[in-house]
Amino acid sequence: MTGLLPIFILLTSLVPAAITFFLRQESYRLRNALNLGGAVVKGALIVAMLVAVAGGASFETAIPLAPGLVLLLRIDALALLFVSLSATLWLLTTIYAISYLGEKPEQSRFFGFFSLCVFATTGIALSGSLISFFIFFELLTLSTWPLVAHKQDAASLRAARGYLLYALPCSTILLVAIVWLESATGPILFTDPPDLSGVDPASLRVIFALFIVGVGMKAAIIPLHGWLPAAMVAPAPVSALLHAVAVVKAGAFGVIRVIYDVFGIERVAELGVGTPLAALASFTIIWGSLRALQQTEIKKRLAYSTVSQVSYIILGVALASPFAVIGGLAHLVHQGLMKITLFFCAGIYDERAGVRSIEGLDGLGRRMPWTSTCFSIGALGMIGLPPIAGFVSKIYLGIGGLQAEAPWVLAVLGASTLLNAAYFVPLLYRLWFREIAPDAEADERAPALVGPAVAAALAAVLAGMLAASDISPLGWATLISERDYLE
């Protein structure tokens, strides 16, 4: 049984996907039941697994594909963190998406790929070998494409095309990196970091760079970020998926895996590749914020803010000092919670008030108090305002930067905080202090849309308020870093 648990967890999203594809547009109830059911069951299974792991159990399932090709599923603390994050957010997003799509066409296709996407993400989280990671990573790329292109209009198709234009070359590069490394070391399992002493440092550096390019594209590291803002033409649930649940997170997760489970901190340190990566991440943080400042479309602005925020995670893991790691890992969750809140709200503004551009936000605070409150919470959290989750990550990253003898990190954090404020505060100002246009149509009579947003916002606040408790993301991150990385 225990060995099969990971497989069951995967099935909870694969089976709904498989069935959903063949459902007729009209069979709303069955489809919704399937997806919600899958999400709930998955949640339950993960809880079960949490309990078991807390009890010291360990899960591992290997499916041999070919000589040197083993599909290995296993659970470690990091995997648990990621998988439970994505599972939770998946549930919220599903509820949201069902209400968001309402009667819109092509729902079977949408939800099919939606579940497939989550299947891939779960797989990424659970994969215990480099090759299985890659397989699910690619599956994610493929299953996201139809979602980005969902509206099938020119803009969506262009965005989807742009997405592949980034994704496929980078995945090829990733494959080259994997193959190159494994041809020297044999199949690489995350359980025991491979012995790289046989490979000469120069080519190791190149391989590391290739890896970073390969996974960094999904994490939208500049200059591989172009697809993300373009992809915001997709429906709001998809944006939530891209920015919080699956894709971007998978990229960041990949970076973590590469640094800690493929190369190992010591190796990264002696190769001297950590600092350049941290510098790149810092540049991304700043540049993303600057770009966000220029956007007049809400979702575009949010997208660029993701570009900048996700690099916090990478910055943390690249610095590789205890606090930095904890901060980065915690931000994996924090950013997810806050950003999904923001995108939910952006979607609600679009749906219920027809507002896409920043000007449209004027005075919506009065008409849509719940939505606007959640939006404000998300935004302030992004700025790093206590007690919302964001500031915890910032503090840890800052201290971590000092521990890693990289005081410039503080400057980066400070600058990015100011920039975040610069591009979020005006939105809040419009929301709460401008007067709404008299003829504006706006309400939030859509509990299934507002509910998830509220839940996510609440979670973001609690994650900050109760940061010190063991069950908080921070506590978890601390556990991971102590157990796996900083022994």
Binding site: R161, G226, L293, P407, T417
Partner: protein, 543 residues
């Protein structure tokens, strides 16, 4: 997980206002939200009066909340709670006006933060509270939503955010240096030789902004007058003290003294004199606040006993300044000559106390701090009283110029500043021995009296001159006027780096060429020759 350890009251004092704040958001309560405000500071006041032993810890909150109450904290906590209580009462007439629900909600938030600053033992709680104070008070400033208020709000929020960042980074540096989150250890670590001056500088920046340290004070004369009267009262009386207390908590003994003292003095004199160019009495008071804070910052810089007694000084100034601001409101609500005279009289009394007229609370505060000062700085302190008297006399004049119309319950309105005033003038007497170490008789010694009296006396002639020959009247915001008004500017950034998702040109070229080559290859004439050639090549390559 344990909810908390140790006495619960400190925790309750912080949570209670937050609960009330949340309540004000409830639709049924929104109209009467203001009515709840007086309840908010009650637990804190009780705590201050009852006093509390031991550390309160809530290990799961934030990064582990720890609260404690020592004498200084207790004093400031009491002053703050009292001031907020009175201000809340003074705010009652606002009931039913627009946006009062939001106002009340953030009022509670700021209050909680303000109390938290004085209770926090760990840096995170402190930072959270401080952020609540400085950012939420923005809503108090812009409440009126007039163009002036919004402009003040813009200036304030920009500067406040910058302050927050400086603070965060500074605290992070401190926490790293101390390898601990405890405030005391951080101060020690920052004081230790060889620790980075950057950290201290950033902290001074962050706290100085809130405390109105010159030249970081520019927001203050804009913001304090912009807020509604009760808001101004707490801003000027209590909230600025948060910044001051931050300096006391984190800036190590003696560090930056040479920087803080001159800056403080510049503030103390410059602000007072610049205040003479202000027409709006609230603006005048704001400048007086800057000047008083300048004094306190100088005291912190001076260190030693002076630094220890700063809370005593702050207590008096907080109550007095609160009273004066409220009086402006009362004056606005008075038209009858009698009532206006009454206001003027009370204002005069409180001002005299602030100026340090003998036997007033102000005089006691100054006497208490003076004994810790070197001679020259003690002299400076006395001289500052001249400036103070000057600006306060000017304030009284401006106050008298105000024309108001009668409003209901004037008596009750007047009672509030009166109560504060009395507290300000007499309060210090009760604590005198505890804080100065001298008996009351010390106060009646001749030189003490003289020492307190001559500055005020000196101030009278120039005051008369200023009243006779007006200085040019300027809008508030000294340095800003010099720098040019702050304007929002869109950031200009070059075009983004991103791949082009389009390759049509290349496609067309490729199509042409491929068709051409294919056309050549398809001729058997060529391929037929290629085949034997390839055979030969292959043959050549094989053994």
């Amino acid at each position: 997980m344990t909810p908390w350890i140790g006495p619960f009251l400190p925790l309750a004092a912080l949570i209670w206002p937050l609960l009330l704040g949340a309540l004000t958001a409830m639709p049924p309560l929104r109209p009467v939200a203001v009515r709840l405000l007086p309840l908010a500071p009650v637990p804190a006041l009780w705590l201050a009066l009852a006093g509390g032993q031991g550390v309160t810890a809530a290990p799961d909150l934030l990064l582990g909340v720890t609260l404690e109450l020592d004498d200084a904290r207790r004093l400031l906590l009491g002053m703050t709670a009292a001031l907020w209580l009175v201000a809340a009462l003074a705010a009652q007439p606002m009931t039913g006006r627009p946006h009062t629900a939001i106002f009340s909600g953030f009022w509670c938030l700021v209050l909680a933060g303000n109390l938290g600053v004085f209770l926090a033992l760990d840096v995170v709680t402190f930072y959270v509270s401080f952020a609540a104070v400085s950012l939420a008070s923005w809503f108090l400033i812009v409440h009126e939503r007039t163009e002036k208020a919004l402009h003040a709000g813009r200036v304030y929020i920009v500067i406040a955010l910058a302050g927050e960042v400086a603070l965060l980074v500074g605290l992070i540096i401190g926490a790293d240096a101390a390898q601990s989150m405890a405030v005391g250890e951080i101060r020690a670590a920052l004081g230790a030789p060889g620790s980075s001056a950057v950290g201290i500088a950033l902290l001074v920046l962050g706290f100085g902004i809130k405390a109105g340290l010159v030249p970081l004070h520019v927001w203050l004369p804009l913001a304090h007058p912009a807020a509604p009267v009760p808001g101004s009262a707490v801003l000027s009386g209590a909230i600025v003290k948060a910044g001051l207390f931050g300096l006391v908590l984190f800036v190590p003994e003696g560090a930056l003294g040479p920087v803080l003292m001159p800056l403080g003095l510049v503030g103390a004199f410059g602000a007072a004199l610049w205040g003479l160019t202000q027409a709006n009495p609230k603006a005048v008071l704001a400048y007086s606040t800057i000047s008083q804070m300048g004094l306190m910052i100088m005291l912190v810089g001076a260190g030693g006993a002076a630094r220890e007694t700063v809370p005593f000084f702050a207590l008096h100034h907080g109550l007095a300044k609160g009273a004066l601001f409220l009086l402006v409101g009362v004056m606005m609500a008075a038209s009858g000559r009698g009532r206006r005279l009454l206001c003027l009289a009370l204002a005069a009394a409180v001002s005299a106390s602030v100026a340090g007229l003998p036997l007033t609370g102000g005089a006691l505060a100054k006497a208490a701090v003076k004994q810790g000062l070197a001679d020259w700085s003690a002299l400076a302190l006395s001289l500052s009283s001249v400036a103070t008297s000057l600006i306060l006399i000017w304030f009284l004049a401006r106050l008298w110029q105000m024309q108001g119309r009668d409003e209901a319950l004037w008596g009750a309105r007047f009672a509030l500043p009166a109560a504060l005033g009395v507290l300000a003038v007499t309060g210090p007497w009760l604590l005198w021995s505890a804080w100065s170490g001298h008996g009351p008789d010390y106060l009646f010694k001749a030189d003490t009296l003289i020492d307190a009296l001559w500055p005020v006396a000196i101030a009278l002639p120039p005051a008369a001159a200023v009243l006779r020959w007006r200085l040019p009247q300027l809008p508030p915001g000294d340095l800003l006027l010099i720098l040019g008004a702050w304007r929002g500017r869109a950031v200009r950034i070059p075009a983004p780096l991103s791949l082009r998702a389009d390759a049509d040109g290349a496609l067309r070229a490729a199509r042409r060429n491929s068709a051409r080559l294919e056309g050549i290859l398809i001729r058997w004439r060529l391929t037929g020759v290629l085949i034997p050639l390839l055979v030969l090549l292959m043959f050549a390559l094989l053994p």
